[in-house]
């Protein structure tokens, strides 16, 4: 059994976007803060910090979930995938990102990293979703500027262009 005292700061090691990284974390540190402050991966955004807004959604072992509702110590040895993984090394957008650009699916972009990660997981499970299914998944995110119509259109376009 693994035990971590509240005053301990063990090294937490995880795979972030295919790269093995580690940093210290006390038990109460949230994964969202660990990614941003300890590992410097600031692509993941933090909005409400209680699981409502969806900004901080990342993949853990391929499954979309709120990094603000996960402790850093829980990510020990796990594979974490964030928005930084999506574009190619030369900055070329992936099809989902490109569809977001094409359809004006973002304005300020604060909520976008979480939405992209949600649909990265969802489209793998269900590559040809209905509009209703897209809206259902999107209900787990809050966008306060662009609205949802462009996002739904973008996901539809990404799904259509996929083989």
């Amino acid at each position: 059994m693994r035990r971590v005292d509240r005053n301990d700061r063990p090294r937490v090691t995880l795979m972030l976007n295919g790269k093995r990284l580690s940093a210290e974390a006390e038990p109460r540190m949230l994964l969202s803060d660990f990614l941003r402050h300890a590992l410097g991966a600031t692509g993941t955004h933090v909005g409400c910090e209680h699981g409502i807004c969806g900004c901080c959604t990342v993949l853990i072992d391929g499954v979309a979930q709120r990094s603000c509702l996960t402790l850093a110590v829980q990510a020990e040895g796990r594979e974490v995938t964030t928005v930084e993984s999506l574009a190619a090394a030369d900055g070329a957008l992936n099809p989902l990102q490109q569809a977001f650009r094409n359809n004006h699916a973002l304005q300020c972009g604060f909520c976008t990293p979480g939405i992209l990660m949600s649909f990265t997981d969802y489209l793998r499970r269900n590559p040809k979703p209905s509009t209703e299914q897209i809206r259902d998944v999107l209900s787990g995110h809050i966008c306060r500027c662009t609205g949802y119509a462009g996002i739904v259109k973008a996901v539809e376009e990404a799904a259509k262009s996929a083989p």
Partner: protein, 270 residues
């Protein structure tokens, strides 16, 4: 918006988890999916000394078909149950209710047992368990006991669980072939229901109806004959409560509208 400091343990077995609970009692909290617990930690509504993370305990991660009942372990996530191939056939009411539980992203992590243990009066899974006449398996260093849903959830966020007990599993009776209905009204899809109604039809024309979001726990009653009349009288009896989202009168009104609709759903599929 950050938790206060706490000790953290990740037991490998249910026995280790139960031993920690015996040691810490109500100074410990069990972390399964964390979709209700971690928000409460972040908002500092709770301040446990010890967090017992059971999410990786393999023996708690199974969906077991025991014939008459389906037993769902404490680490089974809501989306794992939703993806269980036999769900629609064996537990049609759970299949109808689960898509209303939180969102895709929270169901990926949130557990079935965790939602029932949290005992929010407007939650869908405690309601489905109550209408199904399901049971909760409580394990402690002292042994194991099994409580019917009606005895487990006592009031808002209050259950019969003792401080040293782990909600190890819940048991849903198999409802194959039974007509079911489920519907709720929420401000936004996936939010807590203002009113949630579940119904299951029995062969003898009795409909078991449950309502969440109107009292401190799910209320269940068998209804025969005139659905609208019975629901109307029941709504008056229950009174309802007022909060940020709805007045008591709106809750009663929603129940009067939703009740007969959900009963018709259950009858239509029977």
């Amino acid at each position: 918006m950050k938790p206060r400091p706490f000790d953290y343990a990740q037991p490998d077995t249910a026995a280790e988890a139960v031993a920690l609970l015996a040691e810490y009692g109500d100074a410990a909290r069990v972390l399964a999916g964390g979709q209700s617990l971690v928000p409460m930690l972040n908002l500092r509504l709770i301040d446990p000394d010890m967090l017992i993370d059971i999410s990786q305990v393999k023996e708690l991660g199974a969906i077991c078909d025991l014939g008459d009942v389906i037993e769902i372990g404490a680490a089974v996530t809501q989306n794992k149950l939703l993806a269980w191939p036999q769900l629609k056939q064996k537990l049609p009411l759970v299949a109808a209710a689960l898509p209303y539980v939180g969102h895709f992203q929270t169901r990926n992590k949130g557990t079935v047992c965790g939602s029932i243990a949290h005992a929010d009066p407007s939650s869908e899974l405690p309601l489905a368990l109550a209408v199904s006449h399901g049971e909760v398996v409580l394990r402690s260093a002292r042994g194991e006991r099994v409580l019917p849903a009606s005895e487990f959830q006592q009031d808002m966020l209050t259950t019969a669980r003792e401080a040293d007990e782990l909600v190890a599993a819940v048991r849903f009776p198999v409802m194959a072939g039974q007509g079911v209905g489920f519907h709720e009204v929420a401000r936004r899809h996936g939010d807590f229901a203002i009113i949630a109604v579940a119904a299951a039809a029995a062969k003898d024309n009795t409909i078991r109806v449950g309502v969440g979001g109107i009292a401190g726990r799910p209320m269940v009653r068998d209804i025969h004959g005139d659905a609208a009349g019975a629901i109307g009288a029941w709504a008056e009896e229950l009174e309802g409560y007022e909060d940020l989202h709805a007045s008591a009168a709106l809750r009663r009104d929603l129940f009067r509208k939703l009740g007969p609709h959900v009963i018709a759903q259950a009858k239509g599929k029977a």
